[in-house]
Amino acid sequence: MVISKEYFEDLVVGASRETATKTVDKDEIIEFGREFDPQTFHIDEAAAKQSIFGGLIASGWHTAAMAMRLIVDTFVRNAASTGSPGFDNLRWLQPVRPGDVIRVRSTVVEKIPSKSRPNLGVVKFSTEVLNQRDEVVMSLTSIAMYNRRPNKT
């Protein structure tokens, strides 16, 4: 069976969808923090209690990485996407704590056909990471390059 790929043409501005969920694990928070963001509120539970956050919180980059994994598992595997030049307006809005259950909501906000490369288009998404209370903990404008649907011969 051939699963049809999702091309630039298949994305609809305004369309929104959500990924599966991920439970945030304390040991994973500390492991990521030790490797990439060794600030006390990411790696030391006792010291984190004394910080402005009142407890251990995930590195914002860990939240971003967990969101990427949810996006890869749910959307990217089937997308005719050729990577990303970057993102805009990332905001870490709420702390992510051990035991939180996060998911990603992705909404197409803009589609821009490439002028120089007729086989490509740029798609901008409003990407929101939500927790189990439906609070937006992180938001950003994601930018992805998509292949255009090949002409049928």
Binding site: F32, E35, F36, D37, P38, Q39, F41, I52, F53, S59, G60, W61, A64, A65, M66, M68, R69, V72, V76, T82, S84, P85, G86, F87, D88, N89, L90, R91, W92, L140
Partner: protein, 151 residues
């Protein structure tokens, strides 16, 4: 005692750090956890893609940038976390064996209006490879405590 409080930052201040060598094993380990696309985890499959070999996940490059920022400055600072990043661009692939250097430049210093004990700095990050090519740039925010008044 932190070396850098909010009061110690000035527009134009520069922090340089690195080089840090990126290994294939760490690229694959990160991507298996967070970004398991073939061009990040599978050397043979990666050859068939436009990059012609394994490249680091952009989120891995960002995480390495964070670690280099901590090592190069934030570990000595009264950091209160970050509200966010205005703009990030992945400009060149990061490949196994690349040696990355990071420059952080303070571009804006803003005391908090509502909370007199802290302020926000805006930083421009440039991460470059050994050839001196920027591989990633970022503009974003960091929040820092103000220096406590002497009692």
């Amino acid at each position: 005692m932190p070396k850098y409080y909010f009061d110690d930052f000035r527009v134009g201040q520069v922090f340089d750090t690195g080089p840090r060598r990126v290994t294939k094993d760490e690229i694959v380990a990160f991507a298996r956890k967070f970004d398991p696309q073939p061009f990040h985890i599978d050397e043979e499959a990666a050859k068939k893609y436009m990059f012609g070999g394994i490249i680091a996940s952009g989120w891995h490059t960002a995480a390495i940038c964070m670690r280099m920022s901590v090592d190069g400055m934030i570990k000595d600072a009264a950091s209160l976390g970050s509200p966010g990043i205005d703009e990030l661009r992945w400009l060149k692939p990061v490949r196994p064996g690349d040696e990355l250097k990071l420059r952080m430049e303070v571009v804006e210093v803003t005391p908090s209006r509502s909370k007199p004990d802290r302020g926000t700095i805006r930083v421009h990050w440039t991460m470059s490879n050994a050839a001196g090519e920027p591989v990633m740039t970022m503009r974003g925010l960091g929040m820092y405590a103000r220096r406590p008044k002497a009692a």
